[in-house]
């Protein structure tokens, strides 16, 4: 076999954008249309009848009754419209011995390069144009189009439009002055530049006229509103440099309605411009066809016009349709009969065939994708094309010239020396090698666009090329590039086969090829059955696998234990296929399940980001919650529960990136993790149960992953080495101790037991202290602020839950009694007590930036502890001041007796005030004064203790002491003393004042009193001045 020739033939037969040029190749590969819906009118809603292509030909095209026919062939791109029309033509030529056909002039306009130039060239080549002048003009156009470069032709087009505007005489859309301004606007260099850009309107017209652009959907050659609205970018330039008219117009056309109006106006000239540029005058096409028909009539012939794609006549289409729709009767009986078969899209038909034209349509043939896509059709098409590639051109030609009968089609398909699938065509078997039906269907279903065109281009051609390259020793078969087999990953239907396959010792590239063969050609599994010559793996014949170099592959036999690992000893029955779903009745759950498996495959094999990661992470969480005995591992249930939060589980390259941090559970993208996630997905799909076929295998994978990662997970949860659960407990207890101290919850002397109960009692974060402005109060407010309050409350919860033993899953929130691990608590307590609750040495050296569960208490302690120490200093200072003041009032000794005496003095004084002098005062003064005697002991002790604390004591002793707010006690005592003193002072002053007043009143009324005062004072002085025993002279 000359494989180079085969390669060449492949490219000849299957061209990228058009059908095979050669008619014989066309016929050799033609797939008969067996079911064509045909409507017998131009109305969209008329009833359709199913006809075969032969019936269409014989009943509609062959036209033995010589009826006027305008047959529209419509359908989406790539559906086969052009193919059908071409077949009609070929069919006509195969009937060339029939008189009717012999007397038929067939004009076949192909969509060679989808340009008007190409169309006109064909018209010229096929002798449609008879008028010499017209002939010359069209020749000139074709030639000039060939010669003219793109810029010249575009310029021609542009100025044609400009001229139309300038010479337009109608005031329908714009008045004369407006048209002048429009012309001026269009002449502006910047405007022109934009209109002539590659994706601008002039380029669109150019493409229609002369630029080959393949079979891709042709963009309509027309002006659009966006062409003008997009001129915003040159607005400033025109405003600066443009003419007055240009400035005016551009400001208008930036608005949508004005832009739309201008586009519509210019499009009015489209056909005229196209014709002009095509060197065609108005009416040329009509005249051309009419003249042809006249000539043919005279010759006794009829005309069949076959147009593959009507859009190639853009600019001339209206005329053409009009002239083709004219029947050869009545006043037009001098015209020959015309049968036109015109291919166009549904959109074109709806847009351009207005009602009157639709009425002239005699038939509609709908070619759509519904008639293509089943295994039979694919198989037959493939078989034909495969065979055609092996035929020489000559063979094909000869066969075609002989009538192109299917039964006589040469069979040249290369066949292997083992049995292979074939298709029955015209009662003969045509081998599908190197394809099989399964591969054709699978590959077709993986196409982004499921049309014959793409099937031929992207499946048949690509894989045949690969096959030839393989034969030439230059490549591998099949081609496994994404462009060749699609984006969906290839998966075996049974997971253990995936695992088994991964362990196959082959180079990666070959493995990829083998996977494609097994999943696309085969059934997607590794079941090995039968013996030679019926030896199959994955329902593929082993010889086939060997043929492509897959030697030594062993599958999974149902009863054999050889070459199967212990983990893979399972009772295999076909599981649900993981191939792209073909069933249209899949449940939502199943769809999700498949999607998840696909996502995992993409993640693992294609290194894509993992979709549905949240679901996967949830399952991991549930699994780990139960699979690890956290408490036994030394991790408190509460800690485990909190740390098993979803955000702490990260799968490598999951869809949304989390903040870069040390995730507690980091699932790497490796095989073990991949299988773990699959196992959990399976478990979830089967109702959170392990009751499914592959369960043991899945469980094995799951446990394998767990065992590989468990130690690391546990270590991370524990926070080792820096943070251990014991650390966390100590910090929590210490923090609660501080809180108790600040809120007055501590006592100077209390047993360890009582203190422990207090710490674990979850008391409220309120203080009995008075609201003052001192440092303690400020710190109290700080910890009672909402944000910190919640932190303390959280700490309380943590504290009780950390040493709590929880039954059942750690993540189940059970509102049960708390069972504390006393030994843990006591161990922590002992440590703290030895440190006198100053945990500075237990805190991490570095500042904790973010408080996670295990370190949140430490973080708060880092900020709080220094402040507490400051506050204690402040309290000591206050106490010092108070003691000093009290001493000034009561004397050096502040013992109990002093307080008692002071209390009594004050009480007596108050009593005397009231009873002797009838002076009233605050009712509570007496009570307060009496109370001093009641609490004299306490006051004395407080004073004594204050001295000791001021001298310096341990942290906890100071905190416990000041927790009870002793300074307030002393302050209260001092306050009552000062109040009483103040009262005494004021009352004495009042008495003095009263006395002075009395004396004043008395003295002002008597001179003698003054004399007596003066005299006696003088006498006293003189007597004092006299010598005496105790008098110093």
């Amino acid at each position: 076999m000359n494989w180079q020739n085969v390669q060449k033939r492949i490219n000849e037969i299957i061209q990228v954008d058009v059908m095979a040029d050669d008619e014989s190749d066309f016929m050799a590969t033609h797939m008969p249309f067996s079911r064509l819906p045909v409507q017998f009118s131009g109305r969209k809603d008329s009833l359709a009848v199913q006809m075969s292509e032969e019936e269409v030909y014989s009943q509609l095209v062959f036209n033995p009754n010589n009826e006027h026919r305008m047959i529209i062939v419509n359908g989406p791109n790539g559906s086969g419209k052009s193919h059908l029309i071409r077949w009609i033509r070929a069919r006509m030529y195969s009937d060339n011995n029939i008189d009717t056909i012999n007397n038929e002039k067939v004009v076949f306009i192909r969509r060679i390069d989808n340009t008007l130039r190409g169309t006109i060239r064909q018209l010229l080549e096929q002798g449609v144009v008879t008028d010499p002048i017209q002939l010359e003009r069209l020749r000139q156009f074709v030639q000039s189009s060939d010669i003219q470069n793109e810029e010249e032709l575009k310029s021609t087009l542009f100025y044609a439009f400009l001229t139309r505007v300038e010479t337009d005489k109608e005031d329908i859309d714009y008045r004369s002055a407006e048209r002048r301004r429009l012309a001026s606007f269009l002449r502006d260099d910047d405007v022109k530049k934009i209109l002539m850009e590659d994706d601008g309107p002039i380029s669109r017209f150019y493409e229609l006229l002369a630029k080959p652009h393949g079979v891709k959907q042709q963009v309509e050659a027309a002006f659009r509103a966006e062409d003008f609205m997009g001129m915003r970018k040159i607005m400033n330039t025109i405003q600066r440099n443009g003419s007055q008219d240009a400035k005016l117009i551009i400001a208008r056309v930036l608005k949508e309605n004005e832009a739309e109006k201008l586009a519509t106006y210019l499009n009015r000239f489209s056909h005229a411009v196209i014709q002009q540029c095509a060197n065609m005058a108005q009416g040329d096409v009509g005249e051309m066809i009419r003249q042809l028909r006249l000539d043919l009539k005279r010759e006794g012939k009829a005309l069949t016009v076959l147009i593959e794609d009507m859009t190639t006549f853009t600019g001339l289409d209206a005329e053409l349709i009009k002239v083709l729709s004219v029947p050869h009767e009545g006043e037009y009986q001098d015209l020959c009969r015309v049968t036109s078969v015109i291919g166009l899209t549904n959109a074109y038909y709806d847009t351009y065939f207005r009602d009157n034209f639709q009425n002239r349509v005699t038939h509609q043939i709908n070619v759509d994708g519904n008639i293509f896509g089943d295994a039979d059709t694919l198989g037959e098409m493939a078989a034909r094309y495969i065979n055609a590639t092996y035929m020489t051109k000559q063979e094909a030609k000869e066969w075609n010239e002989r009538g192109a009968e299917q039964e006589l089609l040469p069979y040249r398909t290369w066949e292997p020396d083992f049995e292979w699938e074939s298709e029955r065509i015209a009662d003969r078997e045509f081998s599908l090698f190197p394809f099989n039906r399964r591969s054709l269907l699978n590959l077709f279903n993986r196409l982004p666009e499921k049309t014959p065109r793409f099937f031929l281009r992207d499946v048949i051609k690509v894989q045949l090329n690969a096959w030839v390259q393989y034969q030439l020793g230059q490549g591998m078969f099949p081609d496994t590039k994404v462009s060749a087999i699609g984006e969906n990953p290839l998966q075996f239907t049974e997971f253990q086969h995936n695992a088994r396959f991964e362990s196959v010792d082959l180079p990666q590239e070959k493995k990829q090829v083998l996977r494609a063969i097994l999943c696309l050609w085969g059934d997607g599994h590794l079941h090995e059955e039968g013996e030679e010559p019926n030896h199959t793996i994955g329902n593929l014949s082993v010889p086939f696998l060997r043929f492509f170099g897959m030697n030594g592959l062993s599958g999974v036999r149902q009863t054999s234990i050889q070459n199967v690992s212990a983990a893979e000893l399972i009772d295999v029955t076909p599981a649900i296929s993981t191939q792209a779903a073909t069933s249209k009745t899949m449940s939502v759950a199943e769809k999700n399940y498949r999607s998840e498996l696909e996502a995992l495959a993409n993640w693992y094999e294609k290194k894509e980001r993992l979709a549905f990661h949240e679901d996967f992470r949830k399952r991991v969480r549930l699994f780990l919650a139960d699979a690890i005995n956290w408490q036994l591992e030394g991790i408190p249930a509460y800690l485990a529960s909190r740390k098993l939060a979803l955000q702490n589980i990260y799968i490598e390259d999951q869809l949304e990136r989390q903040e870069a941090k040390e995730n507690l559970i980091f699932i790497k993208r490796d095989r073990d993790s991949y299988w773990m996630l699959i196992a959990l997905t399976e478990w979830n799909y089967y109702g959170s149960s392990w009751d499914f076929k592959d369960a043991p295998f899945m469980q094995y994978r799951l446990i394998a992953w767990l065992e590989a990662n468990k130690a690391d997970i546990i270590s991370r949860f524990k926070g080792e080495p820096g943070v251990t659960p014991m650390h966390t407990l100590q910090w929590s207890m210490s923090l609660e101790y501080l809180r108790l101290g600040l809120t007055g919850g501590l006592a100077q002397t209390e047993s360890d037991d009582i203190l422990l109960r207090k710490i674990f009692s979850q008391s409220e974060n309120v203080s009995s202290r008075s609201d003052t402005d001192d440092a303690w109060s400020r710190l109290l407010k700080y910890i009672q602020h909402d944000a910190r309050k919640s932190q303390f409350e959280e700490n309380q919860k943590t504290l009780t839950r950390l040493p709590n033993t929880q039954m059942g899953s750690v993540i189940e929130d059970r509102n049960s009694k708390v069972l504390i691990h006393r030994d843990q608590v006591e161990q922590a307590f002992c440590t703290l007590k030895n440190l006198y609750w100053d945990v500075s040495t237990l805190l991490p050296d570095q500042s904790i930036e973010r408080g996670e569960l295990s370190t949140s208490a430490a973080r708060l302690l880092q900020s709080l502890l220094p402040r507490v120490k400051e506050v204690l200093q402040d309290e000591k200072r206050k106490a010092t001041e108070l003691l000093k003041k009290l001493k000034a009032k009561l004397g050096e000794s502040l013992e109990r007796d002093t307080w008692v005496e002071a209390s009594r003095e004050m009480v007596n004084f108050l009593y005397m005030l009231n009873t002797e002098y009838h002076i009233n005062f605050q009712s509570n003064l007496r009570t307060r004064s009496e109370k001093l005697e009641e609490i004299a002991e306490e006051l004395a002790n407080t004073c004594k203790r204050s001295y000791e604390v001021i001298e310096g004591m341990k942290f906890s002793q100071e905190l416990a002491f000041f927790s009870t707010d002793p300074c307030q006690l002393l302050q209260d005592a001092l306050d009552i003393i000062l109040t009483i003193e103040d009262l005494a002072f004021k009352e004495a002053q009042k008495a003095d004042s009263a006395l002075a007043s009395l004396r004043h009143d008395t003295s002002t009324g008597s001179e003698n009193v003054k004399l007596v005062e003066v005299g006696l004072v003088s006498l006293i002085d003189r007597i004092n001045a006299l010598g005496g025993v105790n008098h110093v002279n």
């Binding site: 003193e981 007596v1012 005062e1013 006498l1019």
Partner: protein, 221 residues
């Protein structure tokens, strides 16, 4: 200290209360005020005289502690009460008594101060008056001196006069003999310093001349 403050307040309150609660008889008050005034004036005079006496004759005026304190205390009480518009009779009596005590004290001090010398001078004047150039004057002075010995004079002038008379009397007594030896002997007699050795034949002759043998006494010191 608290206690001090309370005590002080109590005192002041009490003082006020006491003052406020006193029954005030204006007429009585005015009467007692006048009495006090009189007593004060008297005491003032006494002091004036005493001071003059101290100046003239070096009468000591150091008051005895009890007397002084009593006096001052009474006067202060008087002051306090007077300021209150109240003067009880007792305090008036006390002051009066104090004033009397003061006079008594000063009288005693006067007597003690002047008695000896005054008697000496008087005796000398009496004895030697006839020998003086102006025996009438001597006799007047002797009378003047003798009448002031028992009590402090009531007037300052009287103190001055007394001092002057006493001085004059002494001078006259001194000048009673024209013989220096006789003057010396008279002076010594006035000073109670004359001894047997001083009785010189000249002195002896003077004694016989003036028939003073019987008036001359001898004693052993």
């Amino acid at each position: 200290m608290l206690i001090n403050v309370l005590q002080d307040a109590t005192d002041r309150l009490e003082k006020n209360k006491t003052s406020q609660e006193r029954v005030r008889d204006l007429a009585q008050f005015e009467s007692n005020i006048k009495k006090i005034l009189d007593i004060a004036n008297k005491m003032d005079s006494i002091l004036e005289v005493a001071i003059e006496a101290k100046r003239q004759i070096q009468m000591p005026i150091v008051l005895e502690l009890t007397l002084r304190n009593d006096l001052i205390s009474t006067m202060r009480s008087v002051l306090e009460q007077a300021q209150d518009g109240f003067l009880d009779n007792e305090v008036v009596r006390n002051l009066s008594r104090n004033a009397d005590d003061l006079r008594g004290y000063f009288n005693s001090s006067w007597t003690q101060t002047v008695s000896e010398e005054a008697k000496q001078v008087a005796t000398s004047l009496d004895t030697f008056g006839r020998f003086m150039s102006n025996p009438d004057e001597a006799s007047q002075i002797k009378l003047a001196i003798s009448s002031r010995i028992q009590a402090l004079p009531s007037q300052k002038n009287d103190v001055s006069l007394f001092a002057s008379n006493l001085k004059k009397g002494r001078e006259m007594a001194d000048q009673a003999g024209d013989d220096p030896e006789i003057k010396m002997f008279i002076k010594k007699v006035l000073d109670k310093q004359a001894s047997l050795a001083d009785i010189t034949p000249n002195v002896q002759e003077w004694i016989r001349k003036h028939k003073l043998e019987q008036r001359t006494k001898i004693s052993f010191a």
